[in-house]
Symmetry: C2
Subunit: 397 residues, 2 copies
Amino acid sequence: MTTVEQAEQIILAQIKDYGTEALAFEQALGRVLAEDIKADRNLPPFNRVTMDGIAIDFDAIVKGIRTFKIKATQAAGDQPVDIDANEECVEIMTGAALSPTVNAVIRYEDLEINNGLAKLLAPEVKHGQNIHFKGTDKRSGDIVAPSNQVISPAVISLLASVGKANVLVKKMPRVMIISSGDELVEVAATPSDYQIRKSNNYTVKAALKLHGLDADMMHIPDDPDVTRKQIETCLQNYDVILLSGGISMGKFDYIPQALQDAQVTRLFHKVQQRPGKPFWFGKHDNGALVFAFPGNPVATFMCLHRYVLPWLDATLSLPPKEHVYALLDRDFTFAPPLKYFLQIKLKSTPMGTLAAQPVEGNGSGDFANLADTDAFMELPPDRDEFKKGEVFRVWKF
Amino acid sequence: MTTVEQAEQIILAQIKDYGTEALAFEQALGRVLAEDIKADRNLPPFNRVTMDGIAIDFDAIVKGIRTFKIKATQAAGDQPVDIDANEECVEIMTGAALSPTVNAVIRYEDLEINNGLAKLLAPEVKHGQNIHFKGTDKRSGDIVAPSNQVISPAVISLLASVGKANVLVKKMPRVMIISSGDELVEVAATPSDYQIRKSNNYTVKAALKLHGLDADMMHIPDDPDVTRKQIETCLQNYDVILLSGGISMGKFDYIPQALQDAQVTRLFHKVQQRPGKPFWFGKHDNGALVFAFPGNPVATFMCLHRYVLPWLDATLSLPPKEHVYALLDRDFTFAPPLKYFLQIKLKSTPMGTLAAQPVEGNGSGDFANLADTDAFMELPPDRDEFKKGEVFRVWKF
């Protein structure tokens, strides 16, 4: 049977560049930056005042001058005002650009101002004080934000600062989420005693949405001709198809045959894991990928976080996410020779460790349970006993 | 001077219920649930088949019967098929609802089927096997998702399962982000040598967006009449005003006067912290709150995460976020008697600890630096030396 690591490698071997698109920078939050962002000028672009007060030439201090004639008042955004003599100063506001004739700023709190004269209240004055010097953050042409990173609020700030009103981002793959089976009814409908409502597809869509991807949804009824037609249409129009359920030995599971008819090659089927053992992965000749998860909603959710999202990161040229580790906070037993993805609740402790509290469901794919957890802990298949205090890798969601 | 803890208490004393609104459940991702969600029927709603195969009466096994006549085939979503004798079985698919006449399911892998007869391949058969029994996840009327939690993909799944096509969520406060100063130009514009582009307001908007809140933005020019009019309009139409810069001793800062004229009461000004010492907080008679941050963008970002987002959580009735702690990964010195919010990069270690790597900027509010970090570490004001391995609280962003 395919191991978790083999499945991961097979999936990560199928990355593809889906190209780039330009977006208004305000719409780019959460997308992946596809170009290096460079400073269009020095940052700051001028010697910038950081306190309200007066600007003087430090030579005046050396010469013992303590009272200055206010030549003019300069607001932020005003053209810089020059002084013509050591005894002069400019009353100046935070954010203003300093003239080359001044090189120290004394804040109001250290001044007494009367009749157009500013008198120093004995502060210690240093050359260059309260000035954020031109180019000390970045030089014109420097990269302020390299490509291949998620656009965070901090990156939004950098885009705005350098005037990148439009920015290149990675295109997202087109993803179709397919539900199937005549037992499923719409959420707003009242199911009969032997039907249930669709839910798994909405969960997958929501989880992808949190990663910046808007997926489409389709329902396939239990009909071989319709199934074949819909699968073929999806393979032509989407880069990725996510199926939940419908890949089994059931008499009315027409999807495996439809995938075979459509020339989708199976790359693996069944992974040495719980939940999610019947996980199936394949590829169409045109490059479209098919992830077919078992119908168990917890298995689908786990496979999405363990396999699909890392594939998405890789295909968008993001570096692999750093591993996260946590300490098991009680003993746990799992005997089958499968990797077990244990549902856990994480808690940061005052010792600086991350503690993992197992939250076991009834093994039936109970989603009510999943809502109380925030990660899966990946437990190796070659052991049965896992002890309190041992550290294992976790997958947060 | 107001301490960080006092500032926090003063702000958290100003929480208010902004009411609820109904949304289509698919639009509710990331919002706060404002009603308890109950199961509309048992979950699962019937004795649900979990493997494809045949359904039998376990009495047959007790009686030694090993070959069964297939009476009918039942798909998921079909009305349950009864059997009339121990020798009969129903060929049945995953997801189907079991008739009360059967109580064990044997999967295809353990069967040989020929000429309408299913023969057991010597598997061990248990009463109730491969059945997810009615009501074992939840009973009709049970709360499956309590109110006052963020709607995650797992909660979306629960909403879909119980047919909550429309769901009550907490209304978000109406937030206005104000920038001010004639030195600021639009992002798409080319600034003069002494102007810069607006950026701070976009960062605040993006950070709030990640928390499900769509804020509006306004720019106020350096004009006392316009300032007064715009501040008054905002106080009438918004619940919260966020100002970055403009609250200082500067000659062209008309905002403090406008706030005073509009009857906004100052609740504190200046907090014992760096960055963000000049942080100002006030309240209008009508309940509108004013958070005025210093112009330094890193200070604004810190105050947003340390004060505004916890206030937002509290006002939406979310429980306070669990504290997160990390270990300083090198010695650090900070002498002033202020709480220092150190910019850090967090890293999970294979020992299960969270390590904090200080990433120091040049103290000028350099955002390029902030893009390389993912949290602030809160260092106490009564010490100068912080040693490698010591644990302090962190604020992730």
